[in-house]
Subunit: 397 residues, 4 copies
């Protein structure tokens, strides 16, 4: 697969490094940057023959099979529209748009043009996430009640992230897009997200956008997808997910506590991990950051999907739904109440019966709880099916 | 110290076991229970001479120095009022009241009577909490921005907890009272809690009260105290706290991951820990549950305070503030918007200037962020103090 | 209980602080130190009326119920002999002697005098250890095959520890005494320790004693008690135990990973924990060090035992066995081969049949292993009872 | 790269799955198995055109670029010699031989034939290991004093492992080969391993080989490489490494505690991870087992090395040194004393000065230790350079 890279910054380099590692067969073919010097340097670093500061020249190159959009958020739409116009497969970094309107225009452009389109939501491709999702789908956790996805670190690498106009927001748009899609996967993509409640504030930095936010997304079946995002966290990159179901729990830690612990006095200090804040004392490095963040697995799915003529796991439609949820979050942070998720284009036909699964204890009672006390006695808490009275009994006492 | 125990259930036994362990000098003197048989059994188990099913008989016993109220929530008020009337020092289990009105009447009763009163909020006395609080007060974390306190397990032990009328609510009143007071301590008791946003639902059980809730308490200085409470958690007792400050982070785990890990095929199965759900596979027992939950430390503070003529760390006033916050949480769960915390009796004179601590980079710019990139280059993100423009520079590149 | 403290250094202060906390009823009554100024300061700090630089004056005080020996190792024997001569109950800090000969003389002295004697092996009293031991004794782990006890830190607090003559050795005598007794408890005190293999070296410090050692103690039933001790560890105090049995595993971490994690930039730095090496970055404080190290639980057992006329859990005989094992370890480190544990006084009558518990699969085969393969197939590895041939079968394939 | 696979069992399938994943460009071309049906099934499962039960037919195929030896241990030598004879590049699974004599003949065969040869020591290629090794080589840990590598699980998958004749031993040869090479990398491949002390026993299974062993490898510079191997562990696959240096510590956990925790009641049970023992309760799955075990990274290095005309990181010479160390371990387990590592072919010219790095405090004293006491006072322990006397001083007290 010959790939054109639009962008030459941090994320473009992370993508390119991933693709050119581990004897993978797909190669970066060319690079576009608004700044020709940056394009030239990038091309030299990755051994590319072609580079340009003219986007269309790169996109329309007939040797290019797919285009990766690795540009700041405010440039996604133009780039995607150019790819669609050129009939080129396009993979767009996250978030898809700065808002649902932008995302919807991108979605329509690629669908109208009939080109392959993939949404580069890497955190839905980490090995831990994929295996967790398989367990959830296999029923190991029963009905999913709540998910929490947390991404917090001391703030992003480039200036444009901090400028609300270019990025579309602060920590919500930068990090919340990951968290929302993680929760949506666990709860089920066919379940409609109904409304959002969100707190957001600019607690620390001299910026207009929020640097800290907490949100709750309520789905049609009553499940809650919680997100916690912050640019004010101290201690490195905090990437954690939790899932609660009626039959189990999953806890994932993708960065700070993954079985790699190092103490050093600081002698021979070197790079530890993305957004680590220290190079002495107890450190928690990550073995292979790209793999832990899901990059190689994501690109494998994308290119496999292209070759197999199927949709990738994360599509532009998913990106659009995420943007719609984030739009509601931004609105809720202002209005201070729950706001409806505006989804003009909702594609799932699933009708959700909210299923409470009450357990009958006998003809008279529902079982509320069964428990073994420290003294070994089993106790049940029961509710009368008719009167609603709650009482307890010890069993075999 | 001679202590009268009102109540003979799970928590009364936990208190008594704690007090009669480790060669402590204070002793349970007598016990009251509505059910005389229960009182008698309790007295026998703990070697007490006196027991009764008449509350006043126990309270008014002249040999009694202090009374512990370990009764269901709906019986707290009457018991506390009786103690106040009898001029007896009283220690009341959590929550203080079912709502702020009840709590306020209890507060006024003990203050009018001039008796010592302590609020038995054990989770604000765990050794981890006390040491964390000392670090926070010493400034190790800078300004506190956010706290999260989580208590989740498969549900309480006794029938009355599940009955909204007797308990005053579900997981919010049972567990949220801990979480709110933990957050309030870290953020600062002198900082006024302003408003609350709360989601609550009955996701699993056949009850009227909520079995799962998430709330955000916003304080006057912009700090957020988040609580997560659930009776639907699977996997044991999840007791975790987090604190984020401008200079640091604290993560506490008080039960499931405290350095005690056991795998067993189940041969020789026995009691593992409170609310553990399994006795085979990987288990996470707690060495000394009473100590991990703060009971001995709490009683030491209470009786030391009585002897020293000072207030204990956790007072009836604290219990009242917690109830007021929870009242706002219940209301918000219904109205689906932020609700003001109604505090008729607010005692702190602190005036909070919301302090943003922006860092000046030089005459022209504020510093948004400084970071070492993987290639060792230092990059700064800056904001023009006048124009607000955001730009980046690499330093010494 | 009125207690006389012999010694006024680090461990004496730790003991006294423990005893005077949490409303315990036993009190330090008086203190002896070779240095009168130290004795006076200690007395002032703990509110004691009496102090002296004459040991016998303190021991023979008729108001003293029990004497705690908290002196450097080379002074234990004289102090214990003086207590025995005075007919006083005596509690001696660890190790009991510098070698088995010293320990045996102390043991004989207290037994001849008929005084109560307790061995202050605190790490056999931590709540985690006690609960683990109960699980092991209840059979949750089946037959114990191997234990590992590890104590490693950057070195002790006082000069005499580093002087082989006064201490009796280096890390082996200082830390190995804990580790050996922990392993011995898990394997069973009635099982005879047979032989020891030990590596020891002075890897880092300008001293004669070893600053790092690894040893294996083989018990009569084939179980191995491994110890790992070091004064060269960087990163704090590493206190970990592991137990492997035929039915399960226990992992204990008593200091560095107990559910208390703090990141700080170093603003407001303060004391973190014993032997912590840093006050910035990721820190792992311990909530209540005395409790985590078993001190209060140990003293409760000691004084309860005195009052109840029973032996404490850790006796002078245990201290003697530990010294005998360490003697073999020191010898093995020199001879570079396994050395027999010389126990002139072995008191257990248990005859150990080494029990292999081979599982019969059917009339023809022993079962070596049963396993579920990733494809769900169950596979068994079998051994012919007669020919010894090993073969595999898949079941229900 | 066209690859021939010799063997069709568990490890052959793991290798093939790894190579055919993640859009890698190297492909399995053909397979040999002694059992033609197994070869045919393997070929069908991986989409191979060629399979055979004649080894030479597969090896000599001119379209084959490299041969992977994934056969039981007793068949390695013949296979490698056949590859060498055919002039084919050969990658051999671990251990290289059943003993150093076999390994040496294999080493000589490939060197004489001048073919590329790689030693498939996957655990020296995990991302955590590679990053740790880079930190160690950069000096972050100072001088390495001790390493511990532990591999323990409930026993291997196939019958031949359990048969000493075919495998060359038990847990030592199966697991110890990993552990020894991990320690050797951290301590430095140029440092000569001098002698070994090893305990081994057959504690549980009805077999002749050892199912549990602990060994210490002493290197010329005084560093110790400890290995702990067992087929008797309960609780899953315990893969942990530790490194202690004068300036720091590394702790790696490659399987059981890597940030992926799941509790399930067992509903919807499915495959968790290699050698997991349970599918209910708290489980610790591994996201991507092949990646966590180093397989993809290992093959990338191997094939990159072939193309670049350089040696891979792990060579047949490394495999030979490992076998020589294990030979000494087996001997020591019998003789019960340290045994010299017999290395007829030692290739490093490094002369090691054992460097103690004693720190001078001033003209008179060496510094033994500096410490901040809980009261904030700094204390130093000093040794007189001439008399050897040890004393302490408090600084600025």
């Amino acid at each position: 697969m010959n790939i054109a890279m639009l962008g030459s910054g941090f994320i473009a380099r992370f993508y390119a490094t991933t693709l050119h590692a581990q004897r993978r067969k797909d190669r970066i073919h060319s690079v576009y940057s608004r700044n020709l010097t940056h394009a030239k340097t990038f091309a030299a670093d990755f051994g590319l023959e072609r580079y340009s500061s003219t986007m269309d020249e790169i996109i329309q190159d007939p040797e290019v099979d797919a285009v990766i959009v690795a540009l700041p958020n405010h440039l996604h739409e133009d780039a995607v529209l150019a790819c669609a116009a050129a009939g080129k497969a396009v993979l767009c970094t996250k978030p898809l748009g700065r808002n649902a309107a932008e995302a919807k225009r991108m979605l329509e452009a690629v669908e109208t043009a009939g080109v392959f389109a993939g949404y580069l939501e890497d955190l839905c491709y980490t090995s831990k996430f994929l295996k967790s999702l398989a367990s959830v789908n296999a029923g190991s956790l029963g009905n999913i009640l709540w998910t929490k996805s947390r991404e917090a670190h001391p703030g992003p690498h480039s200036d444009w992230f901090w400028d609300k106009e270019q990025s579309g927001g602060g920590a919500i748009i930068d990090l919340g897009c990951h968290c929302v899609e993680i929760g949506r996967n666990f709860i089920g993509k066919a379940i409609r997200p109904v409304e959002v409640m969100c707190w957001a504030d600019t607690q620390v930095h001299p910026i207009d956008a929020e640097d800290h936010a907490i949100g709750l997304v309520r789905y049609e079946n009553g499940a809650i997808g919680q997100f916690e995002v912050s640019w004010t966290f101290r201690g490195g990159m905090d990437l954690r997910d939790e899932v609660m179901g009626t039959e189990g729990t999953i806890w994932l830690n993708s960065f700070l506590r993954t079985g790699f612990e190092m103490f050093t006095t600081g002698k021979g200090a070197n790079y530890v991990a993305e957004k680590a804040e220290s190079d002495a004392g107890w450190l928690f490095p990550v073995g292979d950051e790209a793999h832990e963040l899901g990059y190689p697995q994501m690109f494998s799915d994308m290119f496999d999907a292209m070759e197999q003529g199927r949709e990738p796991q994360e599509t532009f439609y998913d990106g659009y739904v995420v943007n719609a949820i984030l739009d509601a979050a931004f609105l809720s942070a202002k209005t201070k109440k729950w706001e409806t998720v505006q989804l003009e284009d909702w594609r799932s036909a699933a009708t959700v019966a909210v299923d409470k699964d009450w357990v009958s204890y006998n003809e008279t009672y529902y079982l509320i709880k069964k428990e073994i006390l420290p003294n070994g006695v089993e106790k049940v808490i029961l509710k009368d099916k008719v009167t609603g009275e709650i009482r307890q009994e010890t069993v075999g006492d």
